[in-house]
Symmetry: C2
Subunit: 302 residues, 2 copies
C-alpha cells in the first residue's frame, strides 16, 4: 500500500485552514516526509500518524516554510527516545543548513541525523523503491522528487496452473529468469512470469513551469505540484518562480499522469474572498482528474 497524507498545503504564510508544506508518504513499513514546514510534528500527531518511524525526510528547497518544522520534529524524536539514524535529503548546502539548524540553542541530540545533498542524476536506492531528485526552477536551488516503486516480477498463477505449478521453489527460479523442467516439460520464465510496473509519485516543491517536470512525471500515478496562483496570474507566478493551477494541469496532461494534486496554495484564496476551489475548477477544464489538496487529505495509491 502507498498512502499519502497532506499535512500542510499553504504557501509561504500559513492560514487558519492550511498549515505550512509537508506531505507524508507511507509505503509498506516505510514512512517518508516531503518537506517539513513549521508545525508538521503537531499535524502528524493530529492525524495520529506514527512520526517516530519516519526514516527519511526530503527537503525540496531551503525556504523556511519548507523546513522550519525540522527543528521541533527532530527534538521531539530525541525527547521520545529515538535511537535510529534519520536521513535528511535536500539540494546543495543542505549539510550546512541542517547542522546550523540543529545547533541553535542547547540541543539534546539522541540519534544521528545524516544529511545527503542531492542533484539531478542521483538516485537513492531504498530497497523496494528509488527516490530520484530532479531540477525544478525556483529562485534558489530547488529539487522535485520522484518516488519510484521498483518493478516486480510476479507469477501469473492462472498460467502457472496450466503447467500444474503452484507457489514454491520452481516459481522462485522462474522469477530469477531461469527455465525449469517440470513433469517432463520445459517452462520458460516468459511463459508464467510477468513484470508488474512499480507505482510512481512525483512532488515538485516550489517551481515555475518547466518542461523538466514533464520529463520526470511521465505516466506517474500521482503528480503533486506547486499551484500557488490561479490561471489569472501567470505573469505574477512566473516572476515569483511559482506555478498556476492551469500550468499544473497542462503539465499533468502532457505527462499523462493519472492523478493531479494542486498544493502550495496562496493565502489570498482564503482571505480575499476568492475561493481556492477556483484553482481546482480551472485545472479540471484542462485535466479532469485534478484535486485541490487540503490539510489531512488522504489518498491511497492503488
Amino acid at each position: 500500500m502507498i498512502k499519502l497524507v497532506f499535512l500542510g498545503t499553504s504557501s509561504g504564510v500559513p492560514t487558519r485552514d492550511r498549515n505550512l508544506p509537508s506531505i507524508f508518504l507511507m509505503y509498506n513499513k516505510e514512512r517518508l516526509l516531503f518537506d517539513c514546514g513549521e508545525g508538521t510534528q503537531r499535524q502528524l500527531m493530529n492525524f495520529r500518524l506514527k512520526f517516530m518511524k519516519i526514516d527519511r525526510i526530503f527537503i525540496s528547497h531551503w525556504h523556511a516554510d519548507h523546513f522550519a518544522g525540522l527543528l521541533g520534529l527532530i527534538q521531539t524524536m530525541c525527547l521520545e527516545g529515538r535511537k535510529d539514524p534519520l536521513y535528511v535529503y535536500g539540494p546543495e548546502q543542505s549539510k550546512k543548513f541542517v547542522e546550523q539548524l540543529l545547533t541553535v540553542g542547547y540541543y539534546f541530540r539522541a540519534f544521528e541525523v545524516i544529511t545527503k545533498e542531492l542533484k539531478e542524476g542521483d538516485k537513492i536506492d531504498c530497497g523496494e523503491y528509488d527516490i530520484i531528485p530532479f531540477r525544478v526552477e525556483h529562485n534558489i536551488p530547488a529539487l522535485g522528487y520522484v518516488f519510484r516503486e521498483k518493478d516486480k516480477e510476479t507469477a501469473n498463477m492462472k498460467k502457472a496452473a496450466k503447467y500444474g505449478l503452484s507457489t514454491g521453489p520452481l516459481i522462485g527460479k522462474l522469477k530469477q529468469g531461469l527455465p525449469v523442467n517440470y513433469r517432463g516439460k520445459t517452462i520458460r520464465p516468459q511463459d508464467i512470469i510477468e513484470k508488474k510496473t512499480g507505482r510512481k509519485i512525483v512532488y515538485t516543491g516550489d517551481t515555475r513551469y518547466t518542461e523538466n517536470i514533464i520529463k520526470f512525471s511521465k505516466s506517474a500515478d500521482v503528480l503533486i505540484i506547486d499551484s500557488t496562483f490561479s490561471g489569472d496570474f501567470v505573469e505574477k507566478a512566473g516572476s515569483f518562480m511559482h506555478s498556476t493551477s492551469t500550468q499544473a494541469a497542462q503539465i499533468a496532461k502532457k505527462s499523462s499522469v493519472k492523478k493531479l494534486f494542486l498544493t502550495h496554495i496562496s493565502r489570498r484564496y482564503q482571505e480575499s474572498g476568492m475561493s481556492a476551489k477556483k484553482l481546482e475548477d480551472e485545472a479540471r477544464k484542462i485535466f479532469k482528474n485534478a484535486t485541490l489538496a487540503s490539510d489531512f487529505l488522504e489518498y491511497d495509491v492503488k
Copy 2:
C-alpha cells in the same frame, strides 16, 4: 487594559490539545510575546491576534520548545511587509542563537531584528512599563520576566472637588509635586494626588523551585509558572529542573500574588489517563486562586 492570551501550554512535546510554549501580552497598544514555540504564528492567527504589531519577544531560555517558532514568525512578518524593527530578548548567547536561526536557508529579511542579552539586575524601560529579568534555575541559562507597569500619579477627583478644582493645569502641577494656590488656599499635592501602583505580571519560563521567584513575584497581580509535573513527582521535577503544581502554589502563597496560572504541562497528563485537572486541584489546596492554563485561555488583568 492588560490582556494575556496563552498560545501554548505544553512542555517540550506538543499534544493535540496543547501547543508549544508562548504567551501573548497586550498592554494598551503594545504587544509582547513571552517565548515563541513552534506553531506560535498559527496560534496567533487562530486567535485573530494582530501578530504584525508584536514589537518585543522575550525568550526565557534556548530550548527548542521555547524558541522554534521565531523563525517562521519573523519570516511571515517579512513576507507581509513589516518594516519596523523587532526586539528579541533572552539570556546570554541570545545574539548568537538568533543570528544562527535567521541565517538557516535562504532568508529574506525585510526589517531589523535587534537582539539584547539580559541578566538579573537589568531593567528594560519601555515607557509606561518596565521589564525586569530575573534568574531562575534550569539546566541551561534561563530567565524569568517581570512585566511591571509604572506607578502613576492620579488625582482623587472627589478630594479635588472639595477644593473646587476640576481637571486642568492646576491638577497637572499637583501631579508634578508642586503646591498650587487656588481661591486663596494653598493646596498641597498630598491633599489630592494619590499614587496608583502599577500592575505586575511574572512569567518564570522553565525552572525548578527557587526562592528567587518569590523575591521577584511579591504581590504580583499574576504569576505564570512552570508546572510540568504534579505534586507526586517532586524528586523527578527537581532532577529535570522543573516545578510541580504544589511547588507553584507554595510560591504563589509565599509571594502573596493575586492570581496563579500553571503552565508548561507535561504530555503525560493528556495521554496516560491522568487528567491535567489534577494539577489544578493540588494547587488550589494550597493557593485558592490557581488556574490550569489551556491554549487560547484569555485573562484580563484588572
